[in-house]
Symmetry: C2
């Protein structure tokens, strides 16, 4: 396995946040979370040139920023508003871990966030738009000096309901859209994911990833479809960040290989699934902060063993 | 692909029934259904020596029996109680097609069913116990003159609640248990399917298949796990019989290859998944009554394309 042997750069925009979580297995006080946190950490195992674009308040721990820097994540584009507070989200998961209730959302610094990309962030080979207000995602696209080789976008149902026109505009600019199954149904107004994918691919993205949580992920492109299962786990402690860890593994692997072919995207989906499978094993970022390369390889082998079969159709 | 080139025999026991179905796509009057019907039809594409054990009333159409005979299904063991009525089930599916309500169940001939296996049925290489009262499944096992190479058993939540001791006894006699995810959770009292599988494998079966409907199927054995996705379909018209078509494809493929290794079971799971994917495309048995070998091969290729990826972990 070749990791981090490419000089490709990923610019990542998304939230850096505090989360308070409750799952059937326990609860946390405020811990560090946010889409861009998970994406950057997961991608850092594959790519050593990650530019983080986000905003936090003065309450955000400086040692957390240092920790990200130590992972090779460039935080020059992380705005710190000393007199404001970091975005806060609190949620509670149901027993099935696929559904959750939001208990509290405090936008804080996010309410007025206007990303300003440092000069060195404006020509990345890869751009990852984590879930954020679509207008903010668009501001990031507009600051690109050259069109990235691949733009990947995550979003959520909230923006489909509250900012659909802006969302539609961003979708026209991206190559890969990553959403979950409920969001795909909402965006397309189709129950069948195959029909949903056809409609969504007509909205702009050339590739669509539909994440189904414990049921795996689908990748659609033209008339092709690829499926990667989630790893069956004894326990899922905390699903928070799984989708973002998936996205980080996906874009990180693609950046490390510098290959945007469909075949390589399949591999990237497997690497993304592996990162998601680590993420859910512990609360917050605890697990994906401390991974060894050998663990990642072992996990990839588990995915291979899980789905590999040998059928020859030649008579 | 080699089909039907083995002389192995499968004895199949299960219901032959009338179903009345309602799905979001339409509804049917009484149509032919039943576990053993779907199992035998699906298996008939792989194996030409299928012995059917079941019971119907005088109201069951003779041409349906002739149709099964024309598929190479031996109906000598199908009891016909001329003065009674065939088992009837009526149900309605919800929009997600994974859940359904039973509207009516009329046991009729099934209430007093005591299987008596013709002499030629008692030494099959393979025994498929379709979903039925566990005591009836046990009567079939007890009529075996030699222990089959593989006994596969399907069951349902109803028997877990109403006949657990008898179910436990049957489970100790079988090699492969096939149930859905909700049933696995109920049987084991574990939410995690990995934990559920460990507990269930300790109850007797050496192999456990957990069917997850549109989310695919898992095969557990010792510490091994294999996953096969369901084919993403534009429309699922009627899920009735999907699990039984899966079982029929599974046991049929194994009989045609006469190979009960784990690697061959993986292939059998894929063939079972293919048969299930055909079954749901039309109401009742309509689709699996009329399949061409080339269609099955094409479908298998779709499964290969769906999950195949190429990752080399060698540096």
């Amino acid at each position: 396995m070749k990791l981090s042997n490419s000089t490709s750069t990923i610019t990542v925009v998304g939230t850096v946040a505090f989360d308070a979580l409750e799952t059937p297995f326990g609860k946390t006080d405020k811990i560090v979370g946010g889409a861009a946190t998970y994406i950057s950490l997961a991608a850092s195992y594959f790519c050593k040139h990650i530019n983080l674009v986000s905003v936090v308040g003065g309450d955000f721990p400086k040692q957390q920023i240092a920790l990200m820097e130590s992972k090779g994540i460039n935080t020059e584009g992380l705005q710190i508003k000393e007199n404001e507070k970091t975005f806060f989200w609190s949620g509670k998961y149901h027993l099935d871990m696929n559904t959750r209730d939001t208990i509290d959302t405090q936008l804080n610094v996010l309410a007025t966030f206007e990303p300003v990309l440092p000069e060195g962030y404006r020509s990345p080979e890869f751009l990852m738009l984590g879930n954020l207000m679509p207008s903010v995602q668009m501001m990031v696209i507009q600051q690109m000096k050259t069109r990235p080789k691949l733009i990947v976008m995550d979003t959520m149902n909230f923006w489909m309901e509250q900012a659909r026109p802006a969302l539609d505009e961003v979708m026209k600019q991206v190559d890969v859209l990553s959403i979950n199954d409920a969001e795909a149904r909402e965006l397309s107004n189709e129950y069948s994911l195959v029909k949903a994918a056809k409609k969504i691919l007509a909205m702009g993205p050339k590739y669509l990833i539909i994440k189904k949580g414990e049921h795996g992920a689908l990748l659609f492109h033209d008339n092709h479809v690829f499926f990667a299962p989630a790893l069956p786990l004894e326990d899922v402690f905390d699903p928070t960040g799984a989708g973002d860890s998936f996205a980080g593994g996906f874009i990180g692997y693609i950046a490390s290989t510098n290959d945007i072919s469909f075949d390589n995207m399949k591999r990237a989906i497997i690497y993304g699934s592996a990162m998601a499978s680590f993420c859910v094993e512990k609360f917050g970022t605890e697990r994906i902060l401390h991974l060894e390369r050998a663990e990642i390889e072992e996990r990839i082998q588990e995915f291979i063993d899980l789905v590999q079969f040998d059928i020859s159709l030649v008579d």
